[in-house]
């Protein structure tokens, strides 16, 4: 009986509507959120992938030094009350920037100009209230800060940055978590990206319940992430992982590192010099 029914289905014709060509003229709908989400995911994935392929530059400053001095530079910038010091640092960072590839320059400047412009907008009312000096100061500090971080993250592989953390007493486990996170942002991100593409391809008219679609995607992403975590844990266990993880980190000093060191000591001295004027 079941087999006969099955046979009948196989030979039955397609439904009529499927044989006709659809005469469909779509209504317009405001669903930029899908495109915007796709765009931001694409950006994130591209950034992490390019970060991972970062070529070791010929003159590569020791990563530990670079991380440490970038941090110190940020503190000095934040503490400084001398506009000249901030300008000197901005020029110094622009000089470093000018030695980088055009592509990276564009990427770094996009962020730093974006942040400083935003800061400027936020500070505009303060300017009218007579705080023009500090407003300009904060805007230029913001530019220097974001550029300094941009230079660090665009000239160094993520993996090397995290392993340099080891020098600063960051626990190994935390470094492992950071590395896993980066990897899974790409994997889960690609998964979410494909779901958004699928949503886009099937969103051919007016979607009355956008939140339902979006929560379906985010919800699936969560369930998927739980599954991935489970799988990864089992795989790690099979390879003998017991919760201990050791980061191995080697570093050597090159002549460029001494130059870098001298430059940064000079910055330090400048800071106090200008602070005392």
């Amino acid at each position: 009986m079941g087999a006969m029914k099955h046979m009948k289905k196989e030979t039955s014709n397609m439904p009529d509507w499927l044989l006709e060509t659809e005469n469909y003229i779509p209504e317009s709908d405001q669903d930029t959120f899908v495109n915007k989400s796709i765009l931001s995911l694409l950006k994130v994935i591209a950034r992490i992938k390019s970060q991972d392929q970062e070529k070791q530059a010929k003159l590569q400053v020791n990563v530990t030094l670079h991380v440490a001095f970038t941090f110190i530079l940020l503190i000095l910038l934040s503490l400084s009350r001398s506009f000249i010091f901030v300008i000197v640092i901005n020029v110094y960072l622009l000089l470093i920037l000018s030695a980088m590839d055009a592509e990276k320059i564009v990427k770094i400047l996009k962020v730093s100009i974006g942040v400083s412009f935003f800061t400027f907008l936020v500070m505009v009312p303060a300017i009218f209230w007579g705080n023009h000096f500090s407003s300009i100061m904060i805007t230029s500090k913001a530019f220097a800060t974001v550029t300094a971080v941009g230079i660090l993250s665009h000239s160094t592989k993520w993996g090397t940055i995290t392993s340099a953390f080891k020098r600063f007493m960051v626990p190994d486990i935390f470094i492992l978590v950071l590395d896993i996170t980066i990897k899974y942002i790409v994997m889960l991100g690609e998964f979410a990206l494909n779901m958004l593409y699928a949503l886009k391809l099937r969103s051919i008219g007016r979607n009355k319940s956008k939140y339902t679609s979006l929560s379906g995607i985010a919800g699936n992403m969560f369930i998927k992430s739980k599954e991935m975590a489970e799988d990864m844990y089992q795989a790690m266990e099979c390879r003998g992982f017991t919760g201990e993880y050791h980061v191995y980190y080697k570093s050597r000093f090159q002549y460029i590192d001494y130059i870098y060191l001298i430059v940064n000591v000079a910055i330090f001295i400048l800071f106090f010099y200008f602070q005392n004027i």
Binding site: F71, S135, T145
Partner: protein, 330 residues
Amino acid sequence: MHIPDNYLSPATCAVMTTAMVPVWVKSVRKMKEEIPKVKIPLLGIGAAFSFLLMMFNVPLPGGTTGHAVGGTLLAILLGPYAACISVTVALLIQALLFGDGGILAFGANCFNMAFVLPFFGYFIYKFIKDRVRTEKGEYVGIAIGSYMGINVAAFIAAIEFGLQPLLFKDATGQPLYCPYSLSVSIPAMTIPHLLVAGVIEMIFTVAIVAYIKKVSPGTIYDGAKQKTNAIYGLIALLICFTPLGLLATGTAWGEWGTDEIKEVASGGNVLGYIPKGMKDGFNFEAIMPDYAISGLPEVAGYILSALAGVAILIILFKVISSFMKSGSKA
């Protein structure tokens, strides 16, 4: 709500980071307790999830979009402690790789978004859920929890901003960091969150929890069985005391005019003392006289502007030629 650097003073950043340390330690311990073995992958992948969640654009009326933080959502899904760690890692990656949120302000950002937001949101959710034991009650809890969570976090951020001009001024009375006082920063931060961001957060959280409950209810964190009130009381207390802590440390920096001393001192009196050690220990700023803009020798000025000119020209040249190249390819 990602605070960039230079909006908050380094002192504030240090205080906020210090306040986060016990939270992080506690969270890691809790994670180890609650999950039978050290499930490191869950932390990493949870962080990846939380990072990606912030990438989702949510439709708003009128065709515009906004994005959710998802702190309360993560707390409901993974538990507040795991949410704290996950958001922390996500924020670190955002700050380091994407320039989103400051490095020095990292502790403050964590305090607002990885601590206050998930814990407070989760507390409200749990509070309502435990009293109204129906499915409806649970969803009401999720809605109110996520709405309150993000708004309280925004409020705390506003306090951090608003205290800056009060605490950190130069000798001429110009604020050194965020120039807006509490009367400006609180409405500026809270009104958009009350009206827009909070609503997004609420709808997004409810919709996702509803979906996951329907599809795969077993994956949701089933909540701590023990009494939560004591811990949360402590946390609430901590939240209340942090601004006071800020005031207290602020006095150690010696950056006020005579008028402010009274205000600050009264703030310090509430706390009962002004930390002397800090006052004496780290006050090189206090020794320094007023700064001046003029003070750069003429020659140095020339050199500086020449260097800037060269750097900018090289950058322009490289950028333009890269655009020309990609232009001819297409």
